[in-house]
């Protein structure tokens, strides 16, 4: 009997195919959003974790501002005094302290101007962190010979595509009317802002910006020492200076956790948007089903005249609504995965790899989504279906 009911419903849906597809579309959009969020959300987390691993597992980072809101400290432009930072090197377990600064500057090359990031660290320790902790190497060229020479290293994209004419090793660039010689460039680091950045010494950076101190510091911890204990000691020691009152000393684990929290909030927001759109899809089903009941009032009368019980009519309409839900769910998942794949591909072409990976898709979650859309369909279809089922046959037959 139920197989026959499915066949009857299928015939009806095909008969009103345009309307059926439009209703399905309402569900597709909601589900598509959910799938994209699930698929990319995981990817974003993976990408960020990957980037964090680049920091290296033996490093502690210090920056102004509160632990959970690092940006505010940066925007306020608070800076540590260099001597306060170097004093930390006396702490047991600390290898060395690398003071760093970041900024944005306009760079001129052969008459063309572009904005790009500046990363400033003094070279001796920075090279050690790059090569030993982060595994980043120069692709070509060499590092500057010292912190006071007018030499810089740049990212791979800076060389190839930031300017109309590709930059070559030995070329001269101008930053804030000061000339620098490009002496080397890094291999692709997987992050767009790094790939087009300029790396120069902290001394040169401070001269350029007429500034002092450092906005952040990276502390290399000696092997065999516990990162957390060293971090705590740093915190205590740094608490004695009074230039930067609020500062954070964090380990890679902690960053991971903070980023995870931020991402969860964003994910939650997107999920709410997706659920609201699903709700709208559900209302769409309800609307279609009500119209459908109204339109088929006469046929409901006929079906009842030839022996359909209230339950049979109810079942027919519920199957119809459920089918719209399931088809919408399946298509939504398919389109969602395709969109996620597309977004992943676009991101990859921009240098952000691994945003979407089909292997890491949560298939159980997708199955749950299909069940969910079926339920949305049935719930949305229930009231119209019941209204149809309760019609008096003679009254329904009179309906024109």
């Amino acid at each position: 009997m139920i197989a026959n009911f499915f066949r009857l419903v299928f015939r009806g849906l095909r008969y009103r195919s345009l309307r059926s597809w439009l209703t399905v579309l309402g569900i597709v959009i909601g589900i598509m959003l959910v799938v994209v969020i699930l698929a990319i959300g995981n990817g974003v987390q993976h990408v960020i974790q990957g980037q964090l691993q680049m920091f290296g597992s033996d490093l502690v980072i210090i920056y102004p501002g509160k632990e959970n809101s690092p940006l505010i400290g940066f925007i306020a432009g608070q800076k540590f005094r260099e001597q306060d930072l170097t004093a930390l090197e006396k702490i047991d377990g600390v290898g060395f302290v690398l003071a760093t600064n970041q900024g944005v500057a306009t760079v001129e090359y052969r008459g063309e101007k572009q904005s790009t990031m500046l990363h400033a660290e003094n070279w001796k320790h920075y090279i050690e962190i790059l090569e030993k902790s982060q595994g980043i190497r120069l692709k070509q060229g060499r590092y500057p010979t010292g912190d006071d020479v007018d030499e810089v290293v740049v990212g791979s994209k800076f060389m190839s595509s930031l300017f109309r004419t590709p930059v070559h090793i030995g070329d001269e660039i101008t930053v804030k009317s000061k000339h620098f010689k490009v002496v080397g460039f890094f291999s692709d680091q997987g992050e767009a802002s790094h790939n087009s950045a300029i790396f120069l010494s902290l001394n040169q950076f401070n001269i350029l910006n007429n500034s002092r101190g450092a906005s952040t510091a990276i502390v290399k911890v000696r092997t065999g020492y516990d990162l957390k204990t060293v971090a705590q000691e740093i915190k205590f020691q740094l608490g004695k200076q009074d230039v930067v009152r609020d500062f954070a000393v964090i380990t890679p684990d902690k960053i991971n956790q903070i980023v995870g929290n931020v991402l969860s909030v964003i994910e939650l927001m997107l999920m709410i948007i997706a659920l609201v759109s699903l709700l709208v899809g559900g209302v769409g089903i309800m609307n279609t089903m009500y119209t459908s009941v109204l339109e088929r009032t006469k046929q409901i009368g006929v079906m009842k005249a030839i022996g359909a019980t209230d339950e049979a009519v109810l079942t027919l309409f519920l199957i119809e609504a459920g089918m719209i839900g399931i088809v919408g769910g399946l298509l939504g998942i398919l389109l969602g995965l395709l969109s996620a794949y597309g977004i992943g591909a676009i991101a990859a072409s921009q240098g952000v790899r691994g945003l979407f990976d089909i292997a890491s898709v949560d298939y159980f979650g997708l199955f749950a989504l299909i069940v969910f859309t079926f339920i949305v369909g049935v719930v949305a279809g229930y009231f119209p279906a019941r209204a149809g089922a309760k019609l008096e046959p003679a009254e329904a037959l009179r309906y024109e």
Binding site: M1, I306, G307, A308, P393
Partner: protein
């Protein structure tokens, strides 16, 4: 079969209340006198008097149907009485708005009376729950409508097996195909209603009405939308089912020629039955 207060004042054959009629005919049986509304009923009584002391297949007793639309009330039936006997061909005639279709809806369990009672084989229909009425409907009644009322998104074949699906019976495709063949529309089985002619649609509707092998066939102006030749063919099939397969046939019609073929004519006027020959003519012409 409950004995109701009006019994002795009732025409045993057609069920009509004879009390207050201007003209009645009488007949005696085993020393007792009985009143009838017309010669027609008396003649039928004389042929087989015993039959009319048992329970009728269908009985409507003092049935009222009041429709309320907005603030207005329409009394479609006003104390309607009717007996239908097994195997009869009954024609219900009357002018538009007389209430004859409402009578057919009551008989076919498509509507519930506002007041009054209905019995099928002596069973009180008011006491039945909606689903039991639906099941009884599928087992006992086959409907043929003036507008055919086929489901537009289903093929002719699917329309015909619909009653079998609803009563959860197995579908024997070969058997259904044979029936389509007998009705001369086998090659149209897979077509949708809009691809069929009126005659083909009505034959499909008739096949659908017969799918569950019902005891009673109800036709609401079944030939009303057909040309005279096609109409005559459909009518012929209906009468054939009545005569050969002893199915009870109840037809609502405007057509005096069809009514004249019936065993029993019930004329409806202003929601009541009026049963004598003069009344027939009046009901038909007004």
């Amino acid at each position: 079969m409950p004995l109701h207060p009006g019994q002795t004042k009732t025409d045993l054959v057609c069920g009509m209340t004879v009390l207050g009629l201007a003209r009645v005919v009488t007949g005696t049986y085993r020393g007792k006198t009985y009143q009838f509304c017309s010669e027609q009923c008396l003649t039928r009584f004389r042929k087989n008097p015993k039959k009319y002391f048992g329970p009728p297949l269908l009985e409507l007793w003092n049935v009222w149907k009041i429709f309320k639309t907005g603030g207005a009330e329409t009394q479609a039936l006003r104390g309607f009485d009717l007996h239908v006997w097994e195997g009869d061909f009954v024609a219900i005639i009357g002018a538009s708005g007389s209430g004859k279709s409402t009578v057919l809806n009551m008989i076919g369990l498509l509507d519930r009376p506002t007041k009054g009672q209905m019995f099928v084989n002596g069973r009180d229909m008011n006491a039945l729950a909606e689903d039991d009425r639906a099941r009884l409907r599928s087992r006992m009644f086959g409907f043929v409508f003036q507008q055919y009322n086929l489901i537009p998104w289903l093929s002719a074949y699917e329309n015909v097996i619909l009653p079998l699906i609803f009563s959860d019976r197995t579908v024997d495709r070969k058997k259904v195909e044979r029936e389509f063949d007998q009705f001369g529309i086998k090659q149209r089985m897979t077509h949708r209603p809009h691809e069929l002619s009126g005659g083909e649609q009505q034959r499909t509707a008739l096949l659908r009405a017969l799918a569950n092998d019902p005891e009673i066939i109800l036709g609401d102006e079944p030939t009303g939308n057909l040309d005279s030749v096609t109409g005559a063919k459909i009518l012929e099939r209906l009468i054939d089912l009545n005569k050969r397969e002893k199915k009870t046939l109840i037809i609502v019609t405007h057509d005096a020629a069809i009514a004249d073929l019936a065993d029993q004519i019930i004329a409806v006027k202003d929601g009541k039955s009026v049963q004598n020959h003069q009344a027939h003519r009046r009901a038909l012409t007004h």
